[in-house]
């Protein structure tokens, strides 16, 4: 009788455990809801010659041109959509036109916005490489930066900047005037509206703000009033890293596609993840390695008007081009 009872208890415990595991899996590990992507081509290798990279860190697409932050070479390189080199501009330094570790990029109304990690500023270029203006300076005050990692520009010209070491996002007028910030300067946090080394920002068509909350392993969303409205990345989006669908191991760059979907560079998982704007996981692609379609740390992505995805393969010093598989 006692043995039977023990067996029953054991069986029930196993069933309960299985239910918990399955429920947990269903709750926290979404399945793919969209067709995946296929590798098309890649270009680049380590070096300083045209078409070579020394730490590519950011990317943006405008029309038929791809702009890449070639960080350690202190320059921006421009390619056509097939990876053919077109031009380059910038050199390491602090003067206007020079670059101190350019990171994530944004293009808005025919201008390129470059977050300069070393120079603590946003530098704005014409697309042909002329430096037009500098925004911000070193510091922790309003309108100052402590290693900006990424920038986005709203429809009214306001800038949103991921201020990496200050653990905040700043909104500035186009002339650099401070508007407001999210996060407490210099303080990390796991709650909504707090950040742990934010790396990049993106705005959707309605100017909703999306933040790559880098070392909190999540994405946070704010409405135009500044209110936090969504966050995702692992269980409860509280910073737990992981390799599963919808989880991150340091998100370093985000970009919207033409259909309003969000692509996130999942650095240590060596992949890109694609989400609906509401955070619904759609698909992921990539994997660790040096071969075609493999990454040695995915750091940034940009999407062309036709949906073609360009991903920066940091450790392999190259850019990869991907296209969605037709259903």
């Amino acid at each position: 009788m006692k043995l039977n009872t023990a067996l029953k208890l054991g069986r029930n415990a196993v069933i309960v455990l299985a239910i918990i595991i399955v429920s947990g899996w269903l709750a926290f590990v979404p399945s793919a809801k969209a067709s995946s992507y296929t590798f098309v081509t890649a270009w680049g290798e380590k070096g300083s010659a045209p078409g070579q990279f020394n730490d590519p860190t950011g990317i943006a697409v405008a029309g038929d041109e791809v702009f890449v932050s070639d960080s350690r070479n202190g320059r921006i390189q421009v390619f056509d959509l097939d990876g053919h080199f077109k031009r380059r501009f910038g050199m390491p330094g602090k003067d206007p036109g020079q670059l101190g570790r350019p990171m994530n990029l944004a293009i808005h109304r025919g201008e390129l916005y470059v977050a300069e990690y070393f120079n603590d500023r946003i530098q704005v270029f014409s697309l042909d490489g002329q430096s037009r203006r500098l925004i911000g300076k070193s510091g922790n005050g309003p309108g100052e930066f402590n290693a900006p990692g990424g920038v986005a520009v709203a429809s009214n010209g306001d800038l949103f900047v991921a201020d990496f070491y200050s653990h905040r996002i700043q909104q500035l007028k186009s002339d650099g005037g401070f508007v407001r910030q999210w996060g407490i300067t210099g303080e990390t946090g796991h709650g909504a509206g707090a950040f742990i080394y934010p790396t990049d920002v993106a705005l959707d068509r309605n100017d909703m703000l999306y933040v790559a909350d880098g070392y909190a392993n999540r994405i946070q969303v704010f409405d135009t009033a500044g209110k936090p409205v969504n966050k995702w990345g692992g269980p409860f989006a509280v910073g737990i890293p992981g390799p599963l669908n919808g989880w991150f191991r340091v998100v370093t760059g985000i970009a919207f596609g033409p259909q309003g979907d969000l692509f996130a560079a999942d650095f240590y998982n060596n992949r890109l993840q694609k989400f609906r704007a509401d955070g619904t996981f759609l698909t992921s692609f990539g994997g660790e390695g040096t071969g075609p379609g493999q990454f040695n740390h995915t750091i940034a992505a940009a999407v062309a008007d036709d949906g073609t995805v360009f991903a920066v393969d940091f450790g392999n010093n190259r850019v990869q081009k991907w296209r969605q598989v037709k259903d």
């Binding site: 350690r72 290693a147 990496f164 340091v250 370093t252 940091f314």
Partner: protein, 111 residues
Amino acid sequence: MKRILQICVLAIALTLGMAPAVAAPQTYKLHVDGLSCPFCAYGIEKKLGSVKGVQRIDVDIASGAVAVTMAEGATLDEAAAKKAVKEAGFSLRKFEQLQSAPQGASAGPAK
């Protein structure tokens, strides 16, 4: 007068001959835990680069090792290195002073 001149010339010659060789740049190796992405590596470079006398910084992301080359005659204080590493968000696990770099070795600016 001639004697005085001879003594002066001799003294100058001896001074020059006995002058120590110009100090070669000091190099240090810092071991940092958790250093593995460019945001981290650049942060370390940026913070260490602002320490007085630092001339060149080489970060090996894979091993978490940071080589710091100082300007001629300058030394890196461990406390200053620790502070810079802490400001970059990391912990300094080990601080080593390496053999001086050979004279004439290239030592570009901190990149």
